[in-house]
């Protein structure tokens, strides 16, 4: 009887003192030292992460510093979230590379685990079907190596079909876009222009699209005031939360960003005769006249 009681108490002690149940994983968020407006972006992402995981250690990495390994040794993290490609590269050289998740950077699954800045096509399609339900076909034109939208199979049949077309280089991409806008696309189609499209070419493309009343969409907010109807860009807080959720997974992999903000050029919308009800209009985080 006593022996049985003793075994029972010992089991309870192990259960209680087990690290899996008694200790939160130690997470370190490494971000670059920055005094510019980018610092605010990092703050938003870190806030999102902490919203998902609770407390996390912050590690400001100075560019060129070789003390990261020692700092990480001192913090002894279970997971490291690296914000930005430079910080990811720095940590990739330490012994903590396998514990690292990357955020706030464009990368592919072969490079890192984490949340890439490429937009999740499913989330994008959901937003588009909400904003412009009349669009049935969306063309995504982008240059190989400069992808900004990650194609994910759509779940809902109500979303518009997404056709991704990639050019091998900038000239090929421009020709692809010019041909698409000039020949193939119609007024019921929307075209995502390459984020790195030169402004002078954008003028020419926008002129053609304007004449054919084709909706131009972009993932580069700087292109919004040059004939583009809508712009889509990452929601930093949501990105942080997505990173926080990913870091708690047992085997975190690669994800594209699901939290997407949207912007609207109302003058183009007016020209294209697209009306938004106030509730929908409120969904746009940026609206220019």
């Amino acid at each position: 009887m006593r022996k049985g009681i003793y075994k029972g108490l010992l089991f309870c002690f192990f259960i209680i003192s087990s690290p899996a149940n008694g200790k939160e994983p130690r997470i370190v968020i490494a971000y670059p030292a920055s005094e510019t407006s980018q610092a605010l972006t990092y703050t938003h992402v870190i806030d999102g992460i902490e919203k998902a995981v609770g407390h996390a250690e912050r590690l400001e990495v100075t560019e060129g510093a070789d003390t990261v390994q020692a700092q990480l040794d001192r913090l002894h993290p279970d997971k490291v979230i690296a914000l930005g490609k430079k910080v990811a590269g720095t940590i990739n050289k330490t012994s903590y590379l396998k514990l690292m998740l990357v955020g706030l950077a464009h990368f592919n699954p072969a490079e890192y685990n984490g949340v890439s800045l490429t937009l999740d096509s499913r989330s994008l399609g959901a937003q588009l079907s909400r904003f412009v339900p009349s669009v049935k076909r969306v063309f995504v034109v982008q240059q190989a190596g400069h992808q900004t939208i990650e194609s994910v199979p759509a779940i809902s049949g109500t979303q518009p079909t997404l056709e991704i077309r990639e050019g091998s280089d900038q000239l090929a991409t421009i020709r692809l876009l010019g041909h698409l806008v000039g020949e193939e696309a119609t007024a019921t189609d929307a075209v995502f222009i390459p984020a790195n499209l030169p402004i002078d070419i954008l003028y020419e493309v926008a002129k053609v699209a304007w004449d054919k009343k084709i909706m131009l969409l972009s993932t580069n907010l700087a292109q919004l005031d040059t004939g583009t109807l809508m712009g889509f860009y990452p929601d930093e807080l949501a990105l942080g939360e997505q990173l926080g959720q990913l870091v708690t997974k047992k085997n975190p992999g690669f994800e594209s960003i699901k939290g997407i903000n949207s912007a609207l050029n109302r003058k183009v919308a007016q020209y294209l005769s697209i009306d938004f009800d106030p509730a929908t209009l409120d969904l746009f985080t940026v609206k220019i006249k």
């Binding site: 900038q170 000239l171 421009i174 020709r175 010019g178 000039g182 002078d200 070419i201 493309v205």
Partner: protein, 490 residues
């Protein structure tokens, strides 16, 4: 620059100012024109370079899309400017994609215009600009721009500038002419008065007036003329006085010459006539004195008396000769003279004197002939040899002669007492001797060398005296050797 001689000072001044102003304006306008031309050319060229760049940017999309129709439309659009003679688009293989037409060709040797290029010809510019997208070279555009408009503008500018130059030059000329009159009138009047004064016109004065300093200049100038006239009058008076004095002196001189001639005639007649009688008497008496012992003393006295009488006759002859030379009444009679016999004769003549002082005489010279007055030449050589024998005791005397260029040179040297340096300049003065005391060693009146120099001058020659080596005297006589009158020995 030579201005016309008939223009007066004021006209010359005005003409000079006019030319200077016109030249200055032309230079200024030329400079400005050149600067503006360069600036406008550069500015216009830069404008069209930018235009070409815009053209290349505009056709870039159509070239990327290989849309010939759009390229053509853009090309014609850019060629619509009246200054554009031709607009063309080429691809990266230099194949023509679009052109506005025209057959102008800039003959650009370059192909594949990866950088902008401007070819500047006389009538037009050719602008080339590459079409690029990032680092990709897509082709190039060509614009040919006419310079006709620019030239027309500059032609008008040149005409306007020329007209402005003309108007301003004329205006400034009249202004300068007006102001120049204020002082050139003064100078012209002064020049006129000075010219009259220089021609001997008296009493001319200037009358200009103006500012205080002009009036002061007038007064000073007139005072100066007055003083000049007064000085001239005083000078003329002094010249008249001196002329009068000279006339009196000339009259006296002429009277003196008359007296001198009378004295010379008197000496010649009144002194030489009795002296000739005395010499003749003494000669007869000397011949009548018997030879033999007991009469030697008598013959010696007669001989001394005869020698003294002859010496006196010689002195009187010298004095008469000197007077004749002084009065320039001696005339030379040139004739062909054999020099060597003449010299030998002279040597023979002084042989007694030479023997008396135990001197050795050496003659050296060629057997030459010259055209000369033989008597004058003989007198010169005799006198120099006599002096050498007279002032040399137991020494060597040399007589040498030769022809040198256009002159006969005669040298008489001795090893006698010599002439101190400080006296050499005076030995040719008449009646002057180194030792002029009554107790002097050597006799004579000091006329010999004076007559020699006068004779040499009569022959247009020259005589100099110097030391004969370390001892004695060396006389050198140079008598001009007229080429036509001198005969060389065969």
């Amino acid at each position: 620059m030579n201005l016309p001689a008939h223009l007066n000072l004021r006209q010359r001044y005005n003409l000079t100012v006019f030319i200077a102003i016109a030249l200055a304006y032309c230079l200024l306008i030329s400079l400005l024109y050149k600067v503006i031309d360069n600036y406008a050319g550069d500015y216009t060229s830069h404008y069209w370079q930018d235009y070409t760049k815009t053209f290349s940017d505009s056709v870039k999309y159509s070239v990327i899309m290989r849309s010939t129709s759009v390229s053509e439309a853009l090309t014609h659009n850019f060629a619509s400017d009246k200054n554009v003679l031709k607009a063309s688009v080429y691809n990266s293989q230099d194949e023509l994609l679009a052109t506005s037409g025209g057959n102008l060709n800039c003959m650009a040797t370059q192909t594949g215009f990866t950088t902008s290029l401007v070819i500047d010809t006389h009538d037009y510019w050719c602008f080339y600009s590459p079409i690029t997208q990032a680092a990709n070279f897509l082709g190039h555009v060509e614009l040919i721009i006419s310079k006709a408009d620019l030239k027309a503008v500059f032609g008008q500018l040149l005409w306007a500038s020329g007209l402005i130059i003309l108007v301003f030059t004329v205006f400034i000329f009249f202004v300068v002419r007006h102001f120049s009159g204020l002082f050139t009138t003064t100078l012209v009047e002064m020049a006129t008065v000075l010219k009259d004064v220089s021609q001997g016109k008296r009493g001319r004065r200037v009358a200009f007036s103006g500012a205080a300093d002009i009036d002061m200049m007038r007064d000073v100038f007139n005072d100066m003329l007055t003083r000049i006239e007064l000085n001239e009058q005083a000078l003329e008076q002094r010249v008249a006085d001196r002329t009068s004095e000279l006339k009196i002196a000339l009259d006296n001189s002429q009277a003196g010459n008359v007296y001198k001639s009378q004295i010379m005639a008197m000496v010649s007649h009144e002194m030489k006539t009795p002296l000739h009688a005395v010499v003749a008497g003494l000669q007869l008496l000397y011949e009548q004195v018997p030879q033999g012992p007991g009469h030697e003393l008598n013959r010696e006295y007669h001989a001394k008396a005869l020698n003294r009488a002859n010496e006196l006759n010689s002195y009187i002859d010298n004095m008469l000769l000197h007077g004749k030379l002084e009065a320039d009444q001696f005339e030379v009679a040139p004739a062909l003279v054999a020099i060597k016999p003449l010299m030998q004769g002279c040597a023979d003549k002084v042989a007694p004197l030479q023997d008396r002082n135990r001197n050795r005489l050496t003659l050296s010279g060629q057997d030459i002939s010259v055209v000369c007055d033989a008597e004058v030449l003989r007198h010169i050589v005799n006198n120099l040899l006599s002096n050498a024998c007279k002032f040399t005791l137991e020494g060597d005397i040399t007589l040498s002669w030769w022809l040198e260029q256009a002159a006969l040179v005669i040298q008489v040297g001795d090893t006698g007492c010599g002439i101190p340096d400080e006296f050499r300049a005076r030995i040719f003065d008449a009646f002057w001797q180194v030792d002029m005391s009554l107790s002097r060693k050597y006799g004579g009146y000091g006329l010999g060398l004076a007559i020699v120099r006068q004779f040499v001058q009569q022959l247009n020659g020259d005589i100099t005296v110097g030391a004969n080596g370390g001892k004695g005297t060396l006389f050198t006589v140079k008598i001009p050797n007229s080429a036509g009158r001198l005969a060389h020995p065969p």
